[in-house]
């Protein structure tokens, strides 16, 4: 049990934090997956419209690594395979049957499951499709089954804006979680590390055995697993670590026990645009329009994940494979008359030039608006102020901007937790995150 304090970072205040309550959501009519959301994965689609699929059956696989298969979150008919520009498959929609069928695998008693060896656990995870819930550091891609991680990290905290509550999601899943941890422990030469946030206890995780626990405190991104890993096992050449969400660990345990791909999820919906920000007990592949049908798609932006690192989705699109929340914020695409010189008693800013520094508004005005126009980069030092990992964001960005990937790697591209704060604070409105993602993609392409 170690306690780690992250000094740098910032909590972006947003109204509409999901309440600590869970309501049962109605059974959705359709669920879907977004094959293009996985970094470095080139999907080969295995189904076509009209096919019948059962829960857990592979919908697509990675062209480069056929053993990495992505399971269906529902049983029924493939209603739509939607392609976007350049024949990129954007979404596979499944209309659920009243009685779903499952792709059945062999169930294990907990004792039998714990007796499995490493190869058997890997095989089970690949067969079930749960392998895809693992990601590796650096760069957050799905790991190679042949790799051996120096540690496996379990994310049990969220302090991003509009944070979801892992404690609610993990209610009653203690035994499955423990079994999942025991299975994961076989995959690594090191330990399973469970990362928590101080003051946000998750009983299933706190009581787990056979793992090392770390309690983090501090502003965002103290609750972000990619940043947490940096403080425990920072990137080193030749070392990789794997990580996954605590709900996925429990899913692994549940799968070993039942032989069925678990689809139940607790999903938070938050933000100013959400009609009642709260948690929903629902399932994988659900859309925000199903959970919160009253949130207006015209006025709002729907983000799967956090507003600082998530993906904008259509309101009827699936929740991301790795996400546990939807953030719904006003789009704010209107011009603001002399907005930059008003007192700004309701604005959100890391700088203290607005009256909100004094008024501390309960419901700050925060939209997807850039709040300014793009200008030349000015090195105010604010990037270094908010960057929680040990990198110098300005210099990293400069190297990436001129395409010097080698220099970027020596400056810590692998360390970047992609928390989005440097883009958030930039007074010149430069999309640093976009530059970083572009750089990561070019490194990954080079490695291929």
């Amino acid at each position: 049990m170690s306690e780690i304090r992250m000094k740098r970072g910032w909590n972006v205040p947003l109204s509409g934090t999901p309440a600590e309550t869970v309501v049962e959501a109605a059974r959705p009519v359709t669920v879907s997956v977004r094959p293009n959301e996985f970094r470095l994965v080139k999907p080969r689609i295995l189904v076509k419209e009209g096919d019948r699929v059962s829960v857990g059956q592979p919908l697509f696989q990675d062209r480069e690594r056929a053993e990495v298969q992505f399971p269906s979150p529902g049983g029924g008919e493939v209603a739509e395979v939607r392609f976007g520009p350049r024949r990129v498959c954007e979404e596979i929609v499944i209309r659920l049957d009243a009685q779903e069928t499952w792709a059945e695998h062999r169930p294990h008693s907990p004792a039998d499951a714990r007796a499995l060896n490493r190869a058997q656990v890997v095989e089970m995870m690949l067969d079930s499709g749960l392998w895809t819930s693992l990601r590796r550091r650096p760069f957050s891609t799905i790991p190679d089954p042949t790799g051996t991680p120096a540690g496996i990290f379990v994310a049990g905290s969220d302090n991003s804006p509009l944070a979801a509550s892992p404690a609610l999601a993990m209610q009653g899943r203690d035994e499955d979680f423990q079994l999942g941890v025991d299975l994961l422990a076989k995959l690594t030469e090191g330990r399973v590390h469970v990362c928590l946030l101080k003051g946000k206890s998750v009983p299933a995780l706190v009581n787990a055995q056979n793992c090392e626990k770390h309690t983090f405190s501090g502003p965002y991104p103290a609750g972000l697993i990619e940043a947490q890993i940096h403080y425990v096992l920072p990137h080193k050449k030749g070392r990789e670590v794997w990580y996954l969400d605590c709900q996925d660990v429990a899913d692994l345990g549940e799968f070993a026990r039942t032989g069925r791909y678990p689809v139940n999820r607790v999903v938070a919906v938050g933000g100013e645009g959400a009609t009642s920000p709260q948690h929903y007990r629902t399932r994988r592949g659900v859309s925000c329009a199903h959970l919160d049908p009253k949130a207006s798609p015209a006025a709002n932006r729907f983000v799967s994940g956090s507003v600082l690192s998530g993906t904008q989705v259509r309101c009827d699109s699936a929740l991301g494979h790795y996400d546990a929340k939807f953030s719904v914020i006003p789009e704010g695409d209107d011009a603001d008359f002399v907005g930059w010189m008003l007192p700004g008693e309701d604005r959100v800013s890391r700088f203290r030039t607005f009256a909100s520094t004094l008024t501390r508004p309960q419901a700050p005005r925060m939209t997807a608006n850039l709040n300014g126009s793009v200008r030349s980069h000015i090195a105010t030092g604010i990037y270094e102020d908010v960057c929680a990992v040990d990198i110098l964001p300005g210099y990293l960005m400069r190297a990436l901007h001129v395409g010097d990937v080698e220099e970027a790697e020596s400056l810590g591209l692998e360390d970047c937790a992609e928390c989005g704060l440097c883009t958030f604070v930039c007074p010149s409105k430069i999309d640093f995150q976009g530059i970083i993602v572009h750089g990561i993609e070019s490194v990954l392409k080079e490695d291929e």
């Binding site: 947003l14 080193k236 932006r301 507003v307 600082l308 690192s309 998530g310 904008q312 914020i329 704010g332 695409d333 011009a335 603001d336 008359f337 002399v338 907005g339 930059w340 010189m341 008003l342 007192p343 700004g344 008693e345 959100v348 800013s349 890391r350 700088f351 203290r352 030039t353 607005f354 939209t367 608006n369 850039l370 709040n371 300014g372 126009s373 793009v374 200008r375 030349s376 000015i378 105010t380 030092g381 040990d390 990198i391 110098l392 210099y395 020596s410 400056l411 810590g412 360390d415 992609e418 958030f424 604070v425 930039c426 007074p427 010149s428 409105k429 999309d431 995150q433 976009g434 993602v437």
Partner: protein
């Protein structure tokens, strides 16, 4: 608070209707930077975030720069008053508030106007030629330059100076964000070396005809007095010339227009630090560097050294351009060191160097401008070592 009326929405619609004329292919396509500057002055655009970061800080470059200009207001107002005060007291006349402010405005406002107009011309010209937006940093440069000039500077010299500062100091390097030197100080350095008779000496700091001055008036600045004094009794020499530390702190001394009052600079520093706009690391370390430099000079001074070698650190911080340079010039984010550690080193060395130049340079008594410009040049080197340290730390991980 938002200002959102039918009228403002109509105005925005009208601007949008005009926009095609000012974009590529339009009749006035070349003038897009001007149109953009005016439109974004009136309206924060409706552009929304793309990519993975969906919310953005409410700050923008305009607000950042206007905050610096606001922080300059105490220096502007006090400087204005002091120009009149110095003139009227040199003439032995009554120094009432409005007369002082009036005389000051008469001297200061034309210089500010010229600086903004000529500098703005270059800024717009380069933006049009390079087809990029007009950067708001110019609002600060255009105000800083006149404030570090003597009130007697002829307007055409100010025009030449700011032209040099903007074109050679900034634009030839690629424009805002790319310059090595602080443009306002580059402009001042140009005037200083091109027209030394108008930028140094005893007669330029007070806007008064020496023939009309009272007997015994010299116009010398405290630094000049200290440089000419001998031995350790420098403070007595200063007091003999009519300067007290209190006057120097409040700014009742001759000097460049905006820099005389340490108190006004401190007010500005308060605004910059409270809003988080300027780097406290540079301010603190430069002050410490100045203190260290003063002690160092006193330690190495011999009995016959110039009086300025013995000048106590409080004096160094309060006279000349030290406080103004510390608050507004050294902290320019573009030309300063960019890393946290780099800022501490950069500021400290400016402080030491400024005092060193003051004390040992026989040609002129002030050293802050040169110290900052010198360290501007070295800032990338300091940063380089800090960055390499970061890389080394990464390689040394276990």
């Amino acid at each position: 608070m938002r200002i959102d009326f039918e009228e403002t929405r109509d105005l925005y619609k009208k601007l949008e209707e005009l926009k095609p004329h000012f974009t590529k292919g339009g009749k006035f396509g070349w003038a897009y930077p001007l149109f953009e500057a005016n439109e974004t002055f009136l309206f924060v655009p409706p552009t929304t975030a793309k990519g993975n970061v969906h919310v953005r800080d409410a700050i923008d470059s305009k607000r950042l720069m206007i905050t610096v200009v606001m922080a300059l207001v105490p220096c502007i107002l006090f400087g204005m008053w002091n120009i009149g005060y110095q003139r009227l007291s040199a003439m032995g006349e009554a120094t009432n508030l409005f007369a002082c402010l009036g005389w000051g405005a008469l001297k200061m406002l034309p210089l500010i106007l010229v600086s903004y107009a000529v500098g703005g011309f270059w800024e717009v010209l380069f933006a049009v030629v390079r087809k990029h937006e007009i950067n708001e940093g110019f609002l600060v440069t255009g105000m800083l330059f006149p404030l570090v000039c003597p009130p007697t500077l002829p307007l055409w010299m100010a025009a030449l100076g700011i032209s040099f500062g903007i074109v050679i100091g900034k634009e030839v390097f690629g424009g805002t964000g790319m310059n090595v030197l602080n443009p306002a100080l580059t402009a001042r350095a140009f005037c200083f070396f091109a027209y030394p008779a108008f930028m140094s000496g005893d007669s330029v700091w007070t806007a008064v005809d020496p023939a009309k001055a009272v007997d015994g008036w010299t116009g010398a600045t405290p630094l000049a007095v200290a440089a000419q004094a001998h031995g350790a009794n420098v403070v007595a020499a200063l007091e003999g010339a009519g300067f007290t530390l209190r006057d120097a702190f409040l700014g009742l001394i001759p000097g460049s227009m905006g820099e005389v009052s340490t108190l006004a600079c401190l007010l500005g520093a308060g605004i910059l630090l409270a809003t988080g706009v300027a780097a406290w690391r540079i301010m603190i370390s430069m002050a410490l560097g100045g203190i260290a430099g003063a002690y160092l000079m006193t330690a190495v001074a011999g009995p016959d050294s110039a009086g300025i070698m013995f000048l106590p650190w409080m004096w160094h911080l309060c006279v000349g351009g030290f406080a103004f340079g510390l608050v507004f010039m050294a902290t320019d984010p573009v030309s300063a060191a960019a890393t946290h550690t780099g800022k501490l080193i950069y500021g400290f060395l400016i402080g030491v160097l400024a005092v060193l130049i003051r004390a040992v340079n026989p040609a002129y008594p002030e050293g802050v401008m040169l110290a900052i410009l010198f360290m501007n040049v070295f800032a990338p080197l300091i940063d380089h070592f800090v960055v390499r340290g970061n890389v080394k730390r990464r390689l040394a991980r276990v």
